[in-house]
């Protein structure tokens, strides 16, 4: 997808600074998902397919209402259904709309080696540019949420764009538009955060969910998709939402200390052999005194 008129904050695999950084001010956008009022109708799943032009693809039902086990390259929006026996509230069917979280500190972008294949706009949207994607799948290693998916046909990686094309045109994302219960909201990050906290407080004080809270994980510097959860202490209950997501340490180790150590070692090696040659010169074989006609280098 292309959000050509949006201000870019970060570019994957890019040498040097971001062109035109700081020219414009933009609101940071945010999607709020209130899992406590979601009814699992899957209207958002259908709206996502419709807007992005994907047809229904073969799927696996796994004794659950869930459409498929995980999001796929052409199915970016998936409600995860999880049965949970709660000691205070009995049997609960936890439903969480899973999609790209649009991290403030995106692991996919950090891991990507291809110049411009992933961009982060100043409004917070992290967007894949398939025309620059080389299909290496490193974004899949960098993401703590298991979101980017490789298409064997296109040999490129795809994920939710937060409907960057709609947002650029001043529209809300397709999933938000389709939601019949109003559990999905879209606005600026501060507004959504305030609304989410208000709802979480209501759940704690009026509905008996003492652990209700907002999911906006600090390990990735916050996300541009936030959740209201009945039990914010156990996000894993909601289809494996990680409690403390962060960019994997091996990706960080590779991109920072190893990169600098490696660059230093490679340049050092080249300089080292050059100095050795200047100081000691070539290893020349001395003429064989016994057989001068045979010996020596030709």
């Amino acid at each position: 997808m292309s959000g050509a008129s949006l201000e870019i904050r970060a570019i994957s695999g890019h040498a040097g600074s971001v062109p035109g950084a700081g020219l414009k001010r933009e609101f940071e956008v945010c999607k709020l998902i209130d899992t406590t009022t979601c009814i699992g109708c899957k209207a958002c799943e259908v709206a996502c397919l419709e807007w992005n032009g994907y047809s229904f693809s073969e799927t696996v039902f796994n004794n659950s209402y869930q459409t498929m086990p995980e999001t796929s390259w052409n199915y970016w929006n998936l409600i995860k259904f999880n049965e949970h026996e709660d000691k205070d509230h009995g049997m609960m069917l936890l439903m969480r709309k899973d999609q790209c979280m649009h991290c403030e500190d995106p692991g996919c972008l950090e891991a990507c080696p291809a110049d411009g294949a992933i961009v982060q706009y100043v409004n917070g949207i992290v967007d894949f540019q398939q025309e620059h994607c080389i299909g290496c799948g490193y974004c899949m290693s960098g993401c703590p949420f298991n979101i980017p998916k490789f298409s064997p046909e296109a040999r490129k990686v795809f994920k939710c764009t937060l409907c960057v094309d709609r947002v650029t045109a001043g529209l809300e994302p397709a999933c938000i538009k389709s939601c019949p219960t109003g559990c999905l909201h879209f606005g600026t990050k501060p507004e959504m955060k305030e609304l989410a906290e208000k709802r979480a407080k209501q759940l704690r004080t009026q509905s008996g969910f003492s652990d209700a809270g907002v999911y906006d994980p600090s390990g990735v510097a916050g996300t541009h998709v936030i959740y209201v959860l009945h039990d914010a202490k156990n996000p894993e209950l909601y289809g494996g939402l990680p409690a403390n997501p962060s960019i994997p340490w091996t990706v960080k180790l590779w991109k920072h200390p190893l990169k600098w150590l490696g660059n230093l070692a490679m340049v050092g090696g080249l300089v080292g052999v050059a100095i050795h040659y200047l100081r000691f010169g070539p290893k020349v074989v001395k003429e064989d005194e016994e057989n001068p006609e045979e010996g020596g280098k030709r």
């Binding site: 040498a15 990706v251 090696g269 052999v273 050795h276 010169g281 074989v285 064989d288 045979e294 010996g295």
Partner: protein, 219 residues
Amino acid sequence: MSDEPVVLPNGRILRYSFHERMIHWIAAISYVYLLLTGLAFWSPWLFWIAVALGGGTISRELHPWAGLIFVFSTVLMYRMWAVQMKEEPADKAWWKATQHYIRNEDESVPPADRFNPGQKILFWGFFWCGILLLLSGLILWFPNWIPWNLHFLRLAAVIIHPAAALLTIGLFIIHVYMGAVLEEGAFAAIVRGYVSRAWAKEHHRLWYDQIVKGASARK
């Protein structure tokens, strides 16, 4: 070996057979391609290499196939050289004289067999790093084959692949410098196959003595 003569009438000695030269250059060419495309993915500042070699997508598609060719040639090298590359107790004395070797004071370095201990390190370094690169590379090759519950494999591969590659780059820089620049006659040996008697005597005395013994026994 092959039907190539070991000692030529003019006194030149066969150092590397056609078979050995062929395998060496298959490994060399595939390694250089892997190095260039790998460096392109290593740093945004070097991504232009991938562009120059046909684009990022083509580089990403061909890098693993070149890796298979490299691993295949490494296996062949193992078959033909592993015995001669075995570490010997006598190698310790050679390592003690490393500083003389570095200063080109070769008269103070103990005589070497067909491969000196430095060459053995190069061989085993490439061999073991090659195995690490193969295993991590296979995981990175097929991103959609690793399920989420085996995600740790991908995270391990992400760090093992560049780390092992860096070790080979260190070996590679020294190898190319010594083979093509430092040691006169060495590059000709791996291209044409033959070295002079004096070269063999100077750099691989034990190997040379065996060849001379074998040649005179045949007479």
